[in-house]
């Protein structure tokens, strides 16, 4: 372990790790390559020429479905889920720092939310809306369904953040005369900010991918995962791979932007040197 020489076990484990990474990346890389299949090509190798045919096809062939609309809805839904997840889980995180009646029950409810199979949440909300005579919608019932998946994760991350949070900063602020709100606004939140960006990113990606919880709750308009799922059952051309590649590139762009923001934030903070990063 801390020995300077690297024995056989290290090489075996490293080999295993490399295989694992290949296992994770291999298939996805395959469809990335296959989405550039020529117009005559099929769902498998060999490549029949190289073209952007299937990407063009994706945007032309609206008969397949409402790709653009579902994409926009998924992004809008993801952003709403992101904002609400950060807001609700941070607020609840503050609440859990003190003792309050029902905190145990609420914690178990949140954990239960992770364990209850997605299809049950979908079915339950669908039935509930049905009985009340309400129309399910992607911005209403689906939003709620997604939050039951993202909030527990958000809450657990916020717990972990607060566990590492040094309360001395707050006490110092209080002793310098800051009101509770000022303490939160100028001390706690800036220290928490990078982690909160992580919570938001998590919320967005979970929602952007969520299929089962959207199934019965999205109403008459599809989100992107529902659209892709529909395509898997009736599309047998590489246009499916083109869509896969496009959404993958999009996910990576979003995550790249988040990380860029995080780096800029940190650099900015180091330059101003107003808050020590060590507290985070």
């Amino acid at each position: 372990m801390n020995t300077s020489r690297r024995g056989l076990s290290f090489h075996l484990l490293a080999g295993f790790f490399v295989l694992f990474v290949l296992f994770l990346y291999g298939p996805t890389a395959t469809i990335l390559v296959l989405s550039f299949q020529g117009p005559e090509g099929g769902l498998t190798f060999p490549m029949n020429g190289v073209s952007l045919h299937w990407f063009r096809n994706l945007f032309e062939q609206q008969a397949v479905g409402d790709f653009g609309g579902s994409f926009r809805r998924s992004i809008a839904l993801g952003l709403m889920v992101m904002v609400l997840t950060v807001l609700f889980s941070v607020l609840a995180g503050f609440a859990f720092r003190r003792r309050f009646r029902g905190s145990g029950a609420l914690f178990y409810l949140a954990v239960a939310s992770l364990i209850v199979p997605s299809i049950l949440v979908s079915l339950g909300i669908g039935l509930f809306f049905n009985i009340l005579g309400l129309e399910p919608s992607w911005y209403g019932s689906a939003l709620g369904a997604h939050l039951t998946w993202t909030l527990p994760f958000g809450l657990l991350i916020v717990f972990a953040i607060f566990n590492r949070f040094n309360p001395a900063y707050e006490e110092a602020a209080r002793d310098l005369g800051a009101s509770p709100w000022q303490t939160v606004r100028h001390v706690v939140l800036p220290i928490l900010l990078p982690s909160l960006i992580g919570v938001g990113l998590f919320g967005f990606t979970l929602s952007y991918d969520e299929f089962a919880r959207t199934l019965m709750t999205a109403g008459s308009f599809n989100t992107l995962p529902l659209e892709i799922y529909g395509m898997t059952t009736n599309v047998t051309t590489p246009v499916l791979y083109a869509l896969g590649s496009l959404t993958t590139v999009f996910s990576f762009t979003v995550i790249g932007l988040f990380f860029l923001g995080l780096i800029l934030l940190r650099r900015n903070r180091l330059r101003r040197n107003r808050f020590p990063v060590a507290g985070t």
């Binding site: 801390n2 295993f16 996805t28 609440a95 364990i115 079915l123 339950g124 709620g144 369904a145 991918d209």
Partner: protein, 305 residues
């Protein structure tokens, strides 16, 4: 930094104001702060589950559902051999996926935590493992098709290498491809919590074990494994519950040849047999909860938080 009560206050009035507010606000604040989370979970989790339980006792025909109290949904469900077969099949997927992801998760986490020495490399390699998780699950599933299909990469590779002379049919649309896809989708859910547990292990303990004359295998078995149990439990809960409730993976990867409870429920939903789906859902929830409680008896997960 230690702070005492005698720290000078900025002004007496501010202190008085704080004290006045201090009586009511701090007492109400936690409730207000927890309210959005509570309301969301009650409205979109607890109430829907209670709805499912209620509807599972309702009556239905091919046209609509009727509020009632009948046990037929449960009787039909539990007396059908199809149900039992489906449950067994789902359990088989869960156990296989759990065992394989546990093996992979433990090995990968062990390598990252104990064999990779610099923290930077640890983080880089860890990120490398999490990146595929950022792609849509359905895309990750269909990405196996050009790989495992009859004319897929694996079959053509094996044929051109002369190992087989006919394409292997069991690779795609089989139990094999279902479990493979599950492992591909959920291995990370095992790696992350186990890695997290391993990183918390005080390195001095391992040092001590070695100084005490323990071999690497003994250290692994008697020190690392017991201390990693909470992580294993969390990962297991994730993997098992995800597989038990799944229906897309089973439908896509088995090509409609295999069944799972989730798939059964999804089919009943699409046939608008809501009370039957609800009864099935209640039984599924009970089974999942029993499995989770059993896993929690083995380790105290609250210590992890």
């Amino acid at each position: 930094m230690t702070l005492t009560a005698e720290t000078p206050r900025p002004s007496a009035t501010a202190a008085a104001g704080r004290a006045r507010r201090g009586r009511l606000l701090p007492r109400v604040a936690p409730y207000l702060q927890a309210a959005p989370l509570t309301v969301t979970l009650l409205l979109f989790l607890l109430v829907p589950i209670l709805t499912i339980v209620a509807v599972s006792f309702w009556d239905y025909d091919s046209v609509r559902i009727y509020p009632d109290f009948v046990l037929t949904n449960y009787v039909e469900l539990l007396t059908s051999p199809v149900t039992w077969k489906t449950y067994l099949n789902t359990l088989k997927y869960a156990v296989l996926t759990w065992a394989i992801t546990l093996g992979i998760g433990f090995t990968v986490a062990y390598f990252l935590a104990f064999h990779v020495r610099s923290t930077t490399w640890q983080m880089v390699l860890f990120l490398v493992c999490t990146i595929p998780f950022w792609t849509s699950n359905i895309i990750r599933m269909i990405s196996w098709i050009p790989f495992l299909g009859r004319n897929g990469l694996l079959n053509s590779g094996l044929i051109s290498a002369g190992i087989i002379d006919r394409p292997l049919e069991f690779l795609l649309f089989s139990d094999f491809s279902v479990v493979l896809a599950f492992v591909h989708l959920y291995a990370l859910f095992m790696v992350v919590p186990i890695f997290n547990s391993m990183m918390r292990i005080d390195r001095a303990l391992i040092e001590a074990a070695r100084d005490g004359g323990a071999s690497a295998a003994q250290t692994l078995w008697n020190v690392i494994l017991p201390l990693t149990k909470p992580g294993i439990a969390i990962g297991s809960i994730f993997v098992v519950t995800l597989v038990m409730g799944d229906f897309i993976t089973v439908r896509l990867m088995s090509g409609g040849q295999s069944a799972s409870i989730g798939l059964m429920i999804a089919n009943e939903i699409s046939l608008l047999q809501y009370p039957a789906a609800a009864a099935n859902a209640v039984v599924l929830l009970a089974v999942v909860l029993i499995m989770v409680v059993a896993m929690l008896r083995v380790v105290d997960i609250r210590k992890e938080l």
